[in-house]
Amino acid sequence: MLIKSESKPLNLSVVSIGLTLICWNLSIMVSKVFVSLWMLILCFLFVWLIVNFWLGPVLSKKPISLKLRLIIWFGILVIIFGSIHNHGNRIIKEEGFEIIKFRAQDRQRLENLPSIAPATIVSGRRQTFYIYSPESNQVSWQFEGGEILPTQHLGMGLHRIDYDPRLDGAANRKVLLHLPDQIVERELHFVFAKAHPRWLVSDPDKGIAFGVSKETDQLIIIDRNGDIRVVSVGDGPSDVVILDDTTVAISYLYESDIWLYDYKNDKLLKEISVGGFQKHIAKHPNRPEVAVAIEGIEPKIAVINTVSHEVTQRINLDESPEWIVYGPKGDSLVFSSRTPRALYRLDRIEEEFQLYQKPLFFGRPVLTISRKPGSPYFYVATTGYNPSGDAPLGNHFVQDQLLKVSIEKWEVLEQMITTRKTQQQKDPIEVGSGGSPMGISMSGSNELLVTFAGTDEVWAIQGAKPPRQLLDRKTIGGLWAPHGIADLGNGYFAVTSPSQGAIGVFDKNRNQISIKYLALDDKSLEKADYLALQIRRGERNFFETTRAGLSCQSCHTDGGESDRSAHDITSTRYKGEIIPYTTLSLKGIARTAPYLRDASFSSVADLMRVANSRYKGYVRKVNNRGQDIQHWVESLPPQLNPYVIKGRNLERERAGLKAYVLAQCDSCHSFPAFTNLGQHIPSRLFPEYAKRRNGEEIFDTPSLIALSSSPPFLQDGRAETIHSIFDEHNADNRHGDTKILSKKQLLDLEFFLESL
């Protein structure tokens, strides 16, 4: 095309665009606040006024040469590209365009009916899936190449399958949904489960230690000589204790029984029924007796005689017990609970355990407990201590520490802050050692052995002396993010690394005498299953402490669960009072962007900008840290509902679903993910609460799958129970039309939510 070289007046639109960008860039030089679309538009209007009243009449009468026009156009192009290069990313983030992209992908997946939630399937684990197919009353489920399995129709097009790999066959990423008139293929995020050895128990005299891997249903037997043996046991082993020279007792998450197991002859001796969701188990120091902490619908502690195989007492509790230890003579039991975040003591009175009235409140949950039978005191690790029980509400407050608790005096004797400064610090307030104490073992010589998952260390602490660093990042021999530690006697000890799926045995000179990988090592994994390697790296990164002394796991404790604690992460105040957020569980959040309670992050990887800025980054430099953490988080399936073990009440669930739809809960908590991934302003739902938030936030609609496993509820955790969400915190009847429900319907609704 020929360009006529005649003189012409400048195009006023082009002039306006150029001047607008110049004006905008000048304003940005004054303040970064003006890096926004509204300022750009204001600049345009300002420029248009200049053009309309002054420049337009002048320029339209003044023809200029083609050469000059080309120079001006080129200049404007430079300004356009320069502005995009300098401010494009910020505009994308500020205006929510990034969230738009990720949310659209995830929404599209859920809106492509029939759709499935949650999006992740892990091999070898029981899981519940919801399928939404509004046109069908009957849907069958089939993994590619597997059997056709029926689903339960709950009503309103919502179907459910409680998938059990042992009965239903192996899982894979392709699912065929058989509808009455067609077969539809859907993809899931398939994760192959790897062994995760965590906490250990040991008998130093015999030089033996035990651990379990709930992901791969294995019992691990570790010998002082460095021999490490693995045997297959029941579904989801959660803990193990040593009973005698040949027998251990194993507790289970997904079995109703505990096992008495002969580890010498690899023989199951006895199954004793106590109920599912057993969290931890403790052995009486003298008697043939164990106590099991059982979470779930009816939390309790079961006391079992291991000789008569009888359950001698079931202690029903209001709190869900987690860790459990016997007192020095076995006449008391101590258990920790996450809600409230406290330790409780039960005293044996006339052979019956009764609750000692005064709990020891911590403010943050107990991460781990030392378990030396017969010891008059024990140690706990936690991320913050506030004796009043209220969550410590300093901004991003995390203070890793060990507390020494006397069972008899029932008080905290000592507090030891573990996070320390190192010579690698780049800033006066940085820390680089003692991050995330994860495993505690009291050795025979009353020396405390502690693993630090955040800083890849092992310490030995003797009384009030300064701690001795037994192992550090260089000498730990690849046992990254160590969890469990066991004293094997004679100065030998064993360390586990769940993320690596490895166990190492060290001698008294701290030399690693053996290491056993229960899964492939990194090099083999890189070739065989790169995603698995990314997940593994992500898990390690998740536990790694930032230079500011906190890590992802500081709040998302117990492998991505919620610490059920309030945190000040925004510094929002109402009448001087901090408005906190409670931690959400990370389990099952794959493909539900955006993230966090206020939908402020488009992806999990995006959170790295907080870690790298506010938390001052990490000592260890790695590539793709955020992406790897995202891979790991996306590999976590939701917590299994206790009703899967106890037995479903389909009739009541169907009634609950009817109430759910009647109250129009499904308009935001839509099927099948029980969220439409939408965001709302607080005033639309909770006018009173909105006044306290000064309109500065937005609610992300959370998924309700596995709701009952992460109390307290609502944005700031003000509802302690599902019942109180409607009873106390829906006075304006905007968070669901629950006022039209009868009492029975409301109870059915609560039951339905509990059963998700």
Partner: protein, 202 residues
């Protein structure tokens, strides 16, 4: 057809549609018993009406170009009259939409317009639509001594993007609707680059 007649027809048709839409929205909304659904229906349906009006107004110029590209002469006067009428309709619906949001949902929570991109995009779109509304009448152009209204009305491209952003960030709009909007907007913008082909007189 004369320009004045075309304007009259377009005004009457669009005004009738506007009134019918408002009657439909209010009558259907009043059936809802639960205040949240009722308010939500009012807000969203008026918002959709504004969106449709804007889309119709925005698509007239490229369609006009497309018809001329294929050698057909479109009735210019009536098309331009409808473009203006739909644009005015979009601004009017947007005002009502904003009124409903403020009255029924915001509860004096004004800071959302500063903090939340969803509301900010809506507010900017409304503001720009109002600017275009005011400058859509010859009397106003005279009053404000506006000479270069065409340059100002190029803000429709910005409004289009802001509306897509506003809709995309909203809680309830299905992904396919927003995707369709984005594709339509892109096509309509690209169609504007079709060179004008002079229609030969027979």
């Amino acid at each position: 057809m004369t320009r004045v007649l075309a304007l009259k027809i377009a005004f009457r048709v669009c005004f009738t549609l506007f009134i019918l839409a408002i009657i439909y929205i209010i009558s259907f909304g009043s059936v809802e018993e639960w205040s949240v659904t009722r308010n939500s229906w009012l807000v969203r349906s008026v918002g959709y009406a504004a969106l449709i009006s804007f889309a119709l107004s925005f698509s007239i110029t490229p369609l006009n170009k497309l018809t001329s590209f294929f050698g057909r002469k479109a009735p210019q006067a009536i098309l331009l009259a409808f473009r203006r009428a739909f644009g005015i309709g979009a601004a009017c619906f947007a005002i009502i939409h904003a009124g409903f949001v403020i009255y029924l949902q915001l509860e004096s929570n004004w800071s959302v317009f500063i903090h939340l991109p969803f509301f900010r995009a809506g507010l900017i779109s409304l503001f720009l639509l109002l600017v275009l509304l005011i400058t859509s009448f010859p009397a106003m152009l005279k009053l404000f001594r506006v000479k270069y209204w065409r340059n100002l009305h190029q803000l429709v491209f910005v409004i289009g993007i802001m509306i897509i952003q506003h809709v995309w960030l909203s809680a309830f709009v299905p992904a396919w609707v927003v995707l369709a909007m984005l594709i339509s907007y892109s096509i309509l913008v690209l169609l504007r680059f079709i060179p004008k082909v002079p229609v030969k007189k027979k």
